[in-house]
Symmetry: C2
Subunit: 172 residues, 2 copies
Amino acid sequence: MSPGPGAAGPVLTKPLAWIAGIVVAGSLSVISASSLTPWADVPYPDGYRRWVHISSALDQGTTRFAGLHSIYANDKALEGYRTGNFPDGSVLVFDLLESRSEGSAFLGGARRHVDVMRKDRKRFPDTGGWGFEEFRGDSRTDRALDEGARVACYTCHLRQKEKDLIFSTFRD
Amino acid sequence: MSPGPGAAGPVLTKPLAWIAGIVVAGSLSVISASSLTPWADVPYPDGYRRWVHISSALDQGTTRFAGLHSIYANDKALEGYRTGNFPDGSVLVFDLLESRSEGSAFLGGARRHVDVMRKDRKRFPDTGGWGFEEFRGDSRTDRALDEGARVACYTCHLRQKEKDLIFSTFRD
């Protein structure tokens, strides 16, 4: 049995532990940008719906990625698709919608979540230079990933190590 | 019974009839841009893969539109999505790929065809101001529509008369 919401004891989730760490660091005046928690390092990708569309697909599986997704890339990430190496500042967005059927077609429904990868070798040296984040639904502020989830993102993307951790490809 | 390919008689397809008309007109030196056949009026939409992505969907039906499609809009067409009236110069592209399954997912395969709508009220007064064209596969020159097919495009799109003949909608 795991402790319920009202259980006593030092039950501290990882994000809370981080916040506590920042508060302590801040009070000692040693906080710096690089010591911020990772989730503050990957901003919401403003305007990504007008970036270049890489690809779309429908996943009818049972994972949290099921639905109709579209992938978007900013200009720097486009360079990465071309050269195989994504420069710092590259941002990729995995925009996942629920799928809804209409006749013989599957169309996009409500937005499930927006996953973001941002390349910054200095900030994210332990995850291949990529930072990972996820925003729930249409929210620009409701972040879904804790440290464990980020490591899971990275571990899965490691399967694409020879492609700078990227699964998708761009074609004209 | 309809005449087979080898049947004798004045069997002339519409495109051939048009070409014959142009040759005659040209020899009389009265040909003008406006007298060109409609298929010359809707050019291949160069660079559309970098235009704004409107939506994607998977159609598992049996029509010629079955597959995974994505719709793209140039800047003027984006204005149309916003205002409900598409200005002249608006171009929309319906990019249809075969769908191929991989595990629980349906991804894009080979390109089936690229359908184009171009708004020009002077050129296409009889079809709601829109010109229609289709390019086969990855070709930029292999045009698929004859006059009858264009009228069929228009007739189907008339169902969206209150939306300037456009089915898709854009959302951020």
